[in-house]
Amino acid sequence: MLDHSSHRDCAVDVRDLRAGYNSHVALDGVTFTIERGCLAGLVGPNGSGKSTLLKVMLGLHKPWSGEVLIFGHTERPGHGDVGYTPQSELVDWAFPVSVFDVVLMGRYGKLGLVRRPGRRDRDIAMSALERVRLADRAGRQIGELSGGEQRRALIARALAQEAELLLLDEPLAGLDATAQHDLLRLLEELRTEGKTLFVATHDLSCVAADFDHAVLLNRRVVAFGRPADVFNEEKLSEAFQRHLFVLPQGTTIIGP
């Protein structure tokens, strides 16, 4: 089913990726694929290389060896196929920009240097805001939004970019149950519309319950495939380096 030779249905094809900083190895022989139109989770302990992997996929960090194919080609900055929402704590929420300004930034890559966003760019940004149900918040300063609304605004920016693959870094962290539920529903809707979503998260139960695919990472890929196959006691213990009890409902508790 996951045949390396067929790129047609493959959104992401990562092959034997090695990457790191100075002499520190962050990713060591990482290989996996994500099918087009999938909602896939990226799970692993802190320091397992999740953020480095996302940076390599965005073309922001040059790997030592191996390759990343996005829809069959190597991603270069400015190509625009890959949208990204950073971790919430890395975003400057106090910056004096409106929600609409932030979403409009999704168009900047396509515009190139010096050219100003035009009518069409504004229309695309506005419909992206409508898509995440934030049109009525367009004029607000970005920091005035609630946690869940902020995540949706960042997703709208990726949609305004007209990216087919969305990389989301910890979009569920720090949200209350309702906001988390709303965000998951939005991700599922986007998948239905044909987007491919790759979500780094610590929330194993969400991935187990709602996602099509999971990549279990700890510098190398411990397992990937359907969450039901990936999240077993042996694989999780190997990835998290401690014993995990897997309960039948799919709820996971980290043991002592």
Binding site: L58, Y84, P86, L111
Partner: protein, 292 residues
Amino acid sequence: MSDIADFFVDPWRLEFMRRGLVAATLVSVVAAVVGSYVILKGMAFISDALPHASFGGIAIAFALGGSLYLGGAIAALATALLIGFVSRRGLVRSDAAIGILFVGSFALGLAVISRQKNYTGDLFSFVFGNVLAVTWNDVYLTAAIGAFVLAFVAIFYKELLFTSYDPAMAAAAGLPVPALQYALLALVALTTVIAVQTIGVILVVALLVTPAATAQLLVRSLPAMMALGALIGAASSVIGLYVAWHADLSASASIVLTATALFVVAFAFAPGRGLVWQALPRLNSGSSAVLK
């Protein structure tokens, strides 16, 4: 009646006051626009460092009999590039790199001066600023460099905004982020060069930081922050020169103190965000508790 008219008109009867007014207003407008990025990117320390660093170049140019502006510009730009270079190596934190390099350049300036036999009063006017010693040529040069800086900010507005707000995403979108970050440092350096003559090495940072920070308390968009910051900077220059004239104070000190006073007012009374507004609900609930 004529007394009041005299109060307002008197200072401008003298040409050096008019020149000083034009120079100070130009500089404070440019500084507030560039200063908006300085505030938002947490660059206050480096914007204090570059004027100090420019002093090394100014002193060397003075000793060699060259253009003081050119000397200051070369020293400020070289220091900005070196700070970027040293902190990118990763061996020294960037704030330490800033601290080492700007003091080094400033000390070089002092060393050069200490070897000068002729009168160095002119040089010390760069340290403390002497807006009233500005010539028309200085004003023209200030206007030209200021126009270049403002034009750069206008042309690359979208790029500077994206790079300041979200450098990672800007790089992923294909923008030349390191080049833009160096360009922003160069804009601070150029602003420094036109500001040292009027306001002095030590007080330049106030023009870059204070009006923009005051504006940020009052508005919520970057263009509005730049426009209001420029207005506050210009108002500080005009009011500061009146204060200097009538109270016989240093012009640069008066301008900076006016800007500081405007900041304090905004900090206290900014609608919704100022100290007074934040205290109001508590005062209200306190008084209603007393009534019960």
